[in-house]
């Protein structure tokens, strides 16, 4: 049984079909990269899996950890162990990072039948993860992403992921807007999460991220379908040749 099984998934946004039959299996322990030209449906796939309102599934099935996923509310998917790292993390002035992290962590712990985390243990955990992500401790009392640079927001997304330790992380263009140093920090955070029990799906435009987070599988998503899958070599080939040759082959 795969950790994530997507079968012939179709979805529309504002009445427009975007996903036109995605089939994909992700095993625990794997890292998959989904690449593709702009407008191909990569981010839509991530948001559909996370349950974003307005993204309507018109056909197909998704199973996560052996259970049907699509009937779950967004918060239920999160508590089941699915994490979406946003391409554009939102700012929520007035709600501090520590509160959100702890509330999110406790929501998951309750789901697993665990007691709420003790304040001391929580701080210890968060500070440890912040060290990995090279985030200053003052950040905990600041508003969620308030006044953060683009790179800080992305690091914060990965910090949340490290605290929540999801079974499946969907990272939507986590590398966009990062300089090379920030990219390395983010990649280190993602690699920290790699384990035989978890899986990571990276949505990205650029091969450079895959120099730091080596994927087990690479998929090309275009026109709402996965047109080609391969190993890391496929990403390198895309870097050299672009996407046209795949689109032409698919059209032939």
């Amino acid at each position: 049984m795969s950790l994530l099984e997507i079968s012939d998934l179709h979805a529309s946004v504002a009445g427009q079909p975007v996903l036109r039959g995605i089939t994909l299996a992700v095993e625990a322990g794997e890292v998959h990269a989904i690449m593709g030209p702009n407008g191909s449906g990569k981010s839509t796939l991530a948001h559909v899996l996370a349950g974003r309102p307005g993204y309507e599934v018109t056909a197909g099935q998704v199973r996560f950890d052996g259970q049907p996923l699509l009937s779950l509310a967004p918060e239920e998917r999160a508590r089941a162990g699915l994490f979406l790292g946003f391409q554009y993390p939102v700012e929520i002035p007035g709600v501090n990072n520590a509160y959100l992290l702890r509330a999110a962590l406790n929501a998951q712990r309750r789901q697993r039948g665990l007691p709420e985390i003790d304040a001391f243990d929580f701080l210890k955990l968060v500070k440890q993860r912040m060290q990995t992500m090279q985030i200053d401790e003052s950040f905990l009392s600041r508003g969620v992403n308030e006044g953060f640079s683009g790179g800080e927001k992305k690091r914060n997304e990965i910090l949340q992921m490290l605290v929540l330790e999801p079974k499946l992380a969907l990272l939507d263009e986590t590398d966009s807007g990062l300089d090379i140093d920030a990219l390395k920090v983010v990649a280190r955070g993602v690699n920290t999460l790699r384990s035989p029990e978890r899986a990571i799906v990276l949505v990205t435009h650029y091969q450079r991220l895959l120099d730091h987070i080596v994927p087990d599988r690479v998929h090309v998503l275009a026109r709402g379908r996965i047109l080609r899958s391969g190993d890391r070599e496929l990403a390198l080939e895309l870097e050299r040749r672009g996407y046209d040759w795949i689109l032409e082959q698919a059209a032939a």
Binding site: P53, I92, Y99, L100, A104, R142
Partner: protein, 423 residues
């Protein structure tokens, strides 16, 4: 057939003895004019029809001998603040700090049985105050002081008329925390009237940091009048938090009479159920180079009504004024309404002014972000409403008061919010 509110007010007044001449004059004026209706007034929601639900306009006996003790209604004292207590509008010396402590802090206190002079907002509510208010409490600050004024409404139907006259001498600095609490706790008729009047006079270079926290019970009709006049280089930093009462109607008229006078006005209203919170504030920059900053945040849930009308009129005498108005409303219920009206009337070319008002619902993108972290929808919605209020709550620089205000707001938003969410 039940008499209308004006007739009952006059009848109850007639039964009171003795009458002061000023009170009689006010009663005659009310008899001649009657109470205004919605055609006479510009209030969006809080017209005076609410007075029909008041059975007793006579002031309660709080603060008098043999009255029910009000001490248990008092909150924890604020650190480093001298406490003054009004019960049903009467000064309660036993619950207040000793006069010597006030004197040592450079504050003079006087009690006058003649209700204070009407301010620029004189109208039906001033008439009520002049007819029924037992006394005016006058505070004169000539140094640097911190006061906490608790206005307690005792339970029952009797009314309260807290009437306050605050005067700051040149260069004086006063931090005044005004808390309104107590009163009928159930939203059932007949309601309980609290009619408050405050006059603020700031001499040259004086600074008043004035916090007002209104947490009356759900059976209270709160009618509040505030008049302020600022001399040159005076600063009024006013932060008003309104979470209580069945209907809260707040009127403020602020005259920036001296050059470079500054008003920093923050207000927050959170209403749910069938609560009404209506604010009307008018600012008149009457001298050169004044500064006006106004920020309002209002949340209406369920079937509540929240409104804010912010008027500013500036003519040639107010040239060089800098004005910012920022009003925001959040509707969180299918039957809820928010009405915001920023109004600038400018009759001079020499002014920097900006104003804006937005009303909307919770941002769906923000909501999804929180849900995607596993928070349940109720908590996520509460957090976003909390965040919406953050820039007003964040202006409270007294930590203990800020905690109180946060708890009051949190209690009004939902019970699910634990402390510590604010950044």
């Amino acid at each position: 057939m039940r008499m209308n509110a004006a007739a009952r007010i006059l009848e109850q007044y007639a039964a009171l003895q003795p009458h002061a001449p000023a009170a009689d004059a006010a009663a005659q004026q009310l008899a001649a004019l009657g109470l205004p209706d919605s055609r006479d007034e510009q209030w969006r929601y809080a017209n005076l029809r609410a007075l029909d639900g008041i059975a007793d306009f006579r002031p309660g006996r709080g603060g008098q001998p043999n009255a029910a003790p009000a001490a248990r209604a008092l909150p924890e004292p604020l650190p480093d603040h001298l406490r003054l207590v009004l019960v049903d509008g009467r000064f309660d010396a036993a619950l207040s700090c000793p006069p010597a402590a006030l004197s040592a802090a450079g504050v003079g206190l006087a009690r006058s049985t003649n209700p204070g002079p009407a301010g620029a907002t004189s109208g039906p509510l001033q008439l009520l105050t002049r007819m029924f208010a037992a006394e005016t409490l006058t505070l004169v600050c000539s140094a640097d002081a911190r006061l906490e004024l608790c206005c307690i409404a005792t339970a029952g139907n009797a009314a309260g008329y807290p009437t306050l006259d605050v005067q700051l001498a040149p260069d004086a600095t006063l931090q005044l925390v005004e808390r309104h609490l107590g009163g009928a706790q159930r939203a059932s008729l007949p309601g309980q009237l609290v009619c408050a009047s405050t006059r603020l006079t700031l001499a040259a270079n004086a600074t008043l940091r004035h916090y007002r926290l209104q947490e009356y019970g759900a059976g209270v009709l709160w009618l509040d009048n505030q008049d302020a006049r600022l001399a040159r280089d005076a600063r009024l930093i006013l932060c008003q938090i309104g979470v209580g009462a069945a209907t809260a109607r707040h009127t403020a008229h602020i005259a920036l009479a001296g050059e470079r006078a500054e008003l920093h006005w923050q207000a927050m209203a959170v209403a749910n159920g069938r609560q009404v919170n209506d604010t009307w504030v008018r600012v008149d920059p009457l001298a050169r180079g004044t500064v006006t900053q106004q920020r309002f945040r209002g949340i209406a849930a369920d079937q509540a009504r929240v409104a804010c009308s912010a008027e500013l009129k500036v003519g040639g005498a107010g040239a060089g004024a800098r004005v910012q108005q920022n009003l925001r409303g959040l509707i969180d219920g299918r039957g809820a309404e928010v009405d915001l009206r920023p109004r600038l009337e400018i009759r001079t070319d020499d002014i920097q002014a900006s104003h804006g008002a937005t009303t909307g619902q919770l941002d769906e993108t923000l909501l999804f972000y929180l849900l995607s972290r596993g928070l349940d929808p109720a908590t996520a919605r509460t957090l976003l409403k909390w965040a919406f209020l953050g820039d007003v709550l964040g202006e409270i620089t007294v930590p203990a008061l800020r905690r109180v205000a946060e708890q009051a707001a949190a209690g009004q938003l939902a019970d699910v919010l634990a402390s510590g969410a604010m950044s």
